[in-house]
């Protein structure tokens, strides 16, 4: 009987001491062993920023930034097409050569503007297979006609001719924007007799 009482006493004593020590150690261990994370939010907060806002690009590319912010592409951040510019800007600010790789512009355009049933109605979309002048060289690049930094809505097609001499590539009878019927008599004449490059439609 006395052995049992002693055993109970020993267990009770150990439990009491243990519980007391626990209260002392708990607060200590939470702080010192590291169950809190005092420095960790700082570690996350101090990670480097790679993507840059358009304002950072505008430090050098002022004209481009002005054009795009006044256009239908105002909401498109530079990085969305050109990639994260963090390193590019760091290099440029220190006066070094700062290449920024741009993937094929056409790939970039269709990422947003290829027609998909899943896209919201009203968002400008085209079928890349048929859009533009089919079977002509200009389908290879959206930038032949459109300016990504100032696309306009509806797009203002560039008419600087930019090395193109063949008006009928776009304005032929079966093409993207055929000449009006009133031009039937003019066939054979040079377009440039009446139209100047840069005039627009």
């Amino acid at each position: 009987m006395s052995i049992l009482i002693r055993a109970v006493l020993v267990v009770a004593l150990l439990a009491t001491v243990g519980l007391f020590m626990r209260t002392v150690t708990a607060s200590l261990s939470v702080e010192v062993i590291g169950l809190t994370h005092e420095d960790n939010p700082r570690w996350w907060a101090d990670r480097p920023v790679n993507n840059q806002p358009a304002a950072a690009c505008a430090e050098c590319h002022e004209a481009t930034n002005e054009a795009i912010t006044a256009s239908a592409h105002a909401g498109v951040n530079c990085d969305s097409c050109h990639g994260a510019a963090g390193e590019h800007i760091d290099l440029a600010r220190s006066g070094q050569k700062a290449p920024l790789v741009l993937a094929d512009a056409r790939d970039l355009c269709v990422t947003c503007h290829a027609a998909l049933v899943s896209r919201p109605d009203g968002f400008p979309q085209v079928d890349p297979a048929t859009h533009g002048a089919p079977d002509s060289a200009i389908t290879s690049s959206c930038e032949s006609c459109h300016n990504a930094h100032d696309p306009g809505f509806p797009p203002d097609i560039r008419h600087t001719l930019g090395g193109r001499s063949d008006c009928l590539a776009c304005h032929g009878p079966d093409q993207w924007q055929p000449v009006p019927p009133s031009h039937a008599d003019s066939t054979g004449d040079s377009c440039l007799k009446c139209h100047s490059p840069g005039e627009g439609a």
């Binding site: 261990s29 960790n40 049933v117």
Partner: protein
């Protein structure tokens, strides 16, 4: 050598006391990791930042998303998320509803290249599509986070401004949190062997900037702001419009809210 009962009990008591002493002193002798500075001078934008003053929230407008995937791509570049094996902090899902009632969800490569290469998911290409839209996904920074609750080493925690972060020094890579997240937001970093996930770009928002995905979105489908500021875009949306959260039945209390979310989205 036989020992008396008294000696046995004394020995036990000593052993127990010694054990407690070691437990007490453990924290004192373990090394503490030194604070990390932001730059060479030790300056950090975080010195000026008070987490208690913010309550960040995210709003996603599924009716605006065009599925260009610029968000997922910007996130990879911003946070150095590995390209291989495929893991994403944020991605875009495409929901397609066929006329016969079948719902198909796909997200090729998390949508980082957009969906133009595959105008319709192959599985239901021949069917009539009655409805289709995109749903961007990212960490919900749940107020009642299963990932925080299950971590056996308390490596993941919620900050005062409401972001769930992972302490890489403490994470043991057990993957329990990856299993626990109902939204599949977590993955194991292949090299570091620690859990990782979206932090709503904690390094940007603590500097007063937008998360990279919000800045990259060309159509304003992602909105981010402070609920403590009644003038912020997210405060106004939450005050004026009906929003829903993903898997509300899980009781996780997500802090990412969805506008015009279809009932079929999980």
């Amino acid at each position: 050598m036989p020992i008396s009962r008294r000696e046995f009990v004394k020995l036990g008591a000593h052993a127990a006391f010694g054990g407690l002493l070691v437990y007490t002193l453990r924290g004192v002798v373990l090394p503490q990791s030194a604070p990390r500075a932001a730059d060479a001078e030790g300056n950090s934008a975080y010195d000026q930042y008070r987490p208690e003053d913010h309550d960040w929230a995210f709003v996603i407008d599924t009716m605006k998303c065009i599925g260009c995937g610029r968000c997922a791509r910007a996130c990879k570049q911003e946070n150095n998320v590995p390209w291989e094996p495929q893991c994403n902090r944020t991605w875009v899902e495409r929901y397609s509803f066929a006329g016969d009632g079948e719902v198909h969800v796909d997200s090729p490569e998390g949508g980082i290249n957009g969906f133009a290469d595959e105008p319709l998911p192959e599985a239901i290409r021949d069917k009539e599509i009655t409805k289709s839209f995109f749903v961007p996904k990212l960490c919900n920074q749940c107020d009642n986070s299963p990932c925080v609750q299950v971590c056996p080493v308390a490596a993941t925690y919620k900050t005062a401004d409401g972001i769930v972060l992972i302490n890489r020094d403490k994470c043991i890579g057990c993957r329990y949190c990856i299993q626990a997240c109902p939204y599949g937001m977590r993955y194991l970093l292949p090299e570091e062997r620690v859990a990782d996930k979206c932090t709503w770009c904690y390094h940007r928002i603590t500097r007063g900037r937008l998360p990279a995905c919000v800045e990259a979105c060309p159509v304003g489908a992602r909105k981010f702001g402070d609920l403590r500021d009644p003038e912020s875009a997210v405060s106004k949306i939450l005050a004026e419009r009906n929003v829903s959260v993903l898997k509300p039945e899980m009781g996780t209390k997500p802090q990412a809210f969805y506008l015009d979310l279809d009932g079929e989205v999980v």
